[in-house]
Subunit: 332 residues, 2 copies
Amino acid sequence: MAAGSNASGEDSLIARYFKPLATDPGAFGLTDDAAVLKADGCDIVVNTDALVEGVHFLPDDPADTIARKALRVNLSDLAAKGATPAGFVLTLALRETDHDWLAEFARGLGEDATLFGCPLLGGDTVSTPGPLMISITAFGRVPVGKMVRRAGALVGDRVVVTGTIGDAALGLAVLKGGAVATALAGDVAMTGALVSRYRVPRPRNALAKAVRDHASAAMDVSDGLAGDLAKLCATSGVSATIEAQAVPLSTPAKSLVERGIVGIEAIVTGGDDYEIICTIPADRFEVFAHAAQLAGISIATIGTIVAGYSTPRFLDAQGREIPLKRLSYSHF
Amino acid sequence: MAAGSNASGEDSLIARYFKPLATDPGAFGLTDDAAVLKADGCDIVVNTDALVEGVHFLPDDPADTIARKALRVNLSDLAAKGATPAGFVLTLALRETDHDWLAEFARGLGEDATLFGCPLLGGDTVSTPGPLMISITAFGRVPVGKMVRRAGALVGDRVVVTGTIGDAALGLAVLKGGAVATALAGDVAMTGALVSRYRVPRPRNALAKAVRDHASAAMDVSDGLAGDLAKLCATSGVSATIEAQAVPLSTPAKSLVERGIVGIEAIVTGGDDYEIICTIPADRFEVFAHAAQLAGISIATIGTIVAGYSTPRFLDAQGREIPLKRLSYSHF
């Protein structure tokens, strides 16, 4: 991505909409072919996540929320890895040049880049006859050797999640119509809250340092709590026992579960949560909880790491295992 | 991108095809959500380039050459910036899971990753209803502050290009049929050479250190020599005078120009060359040329940087300016 004075459409598009976001000196105001990322004595954590129209967002989602989601799903990974955001590069595949849409997209992206301290470093803009696609590669810094891994969870560690689980999947259900939409029809506050969680994730970057300092393993919850926990456990060579009723729910989610509109299975396999799941050694929990409180982020202990290689078990209030037909969303 | 033991289709696809490419310790065998890139006291150069089916490659191009092109267009940028490849992340948007295609794609990608010393660090695999798209973000290392910029060309510097110009655009013309294909019909050697240049660029990474040591400015030629030189000049605040007959041509390209099948305009605006254009101070030229010779890369002086802000002028053998209706390929 570069905004030279050559009058090609691509370059003028970049100069107009994205140059103002390239505030880092290493971006050279998007006038070069590459950017420089200063390591500043740290390890660079690299993460990449792409959004496809019709798959990860809906064609009529607002342009600014599409931009925010594209950046935030990457920021969420950096947070779970204990990294401080350092910048990102953007690949934008567009079917057409819609200036109103691009202006809104760039506004949302720029506001979030500022909010999270993660400036645009460069990118590529290409035309496609297919769906809109946004691919972002984000960079963070951690002290050398300190990236928090999926590996590292030990038997006895507490399994902890941030925020609430299931809201984004319920928000998508609202947008798609059907039972959830019918059950909440007319309740603007509840539907608004759920849709907002689907469209604009709230990455937990404020908790990154506490995760780095105290978690034995961590990842962000993007494909469903059950499936992502299974991945963390598999990489760590352990299993887990989860109390389903301890999974933190928002008021709308709790209402839908209590009324029998959705089961806990849908909640823990829904995906798009962008919360952090991490394992905290018992003797570090108190100091971690204090750090979370200072960061203004709610956390909940939902279970314990146990020995074994089986898929984590979700237990109901009576201690019976809840069968999960699928663990998470998969593209293929 | 992560290949956990969770049995989702996406994860097993990644484990099967891409895990063998994740040879860098910072990739954690693709078992984590992010990778660690060690800076090793250097600056990290970041570049991102995407290929869209039907736009940057043809639907029936071989899978392994699509992979090679996707990586090599990024390696070409690193070479022009004077950087040593350090690794890359891959976003792959697939319409379907075609195992034969994926196996060939991964084979080509893996061979080139090894050839250029640029291991896979991570990525994301998503489904799309649209065209196949490959987005790669590549990383290189340069000594702190030493990335070669588009800015920096000074009046009097020589304008130098590597290899030959125009072959890839002619290769595409061959594949599309038409006058070029007709003119070369039956000449398997010539058409094969041109098509190969279109499908599999030859990035000049062997010249990266010489560029870093001697060039005042550099970029890779991807959108057409005329347009890319114009961008370099604009960023440097200079202009250039180019002797069109000094632009290095391959045997097939020379033949097509001499027979009047294509004009020099098509050659210098065609794009997809993935050669390096750089400016070398006159007193550094001899040592640069020697380094290029040692690296086995042919170079040619095609003109001189001059004062001014106008678009670089291309002159014919009689010193008359060749009018260029367009400078380069643009997506919009």
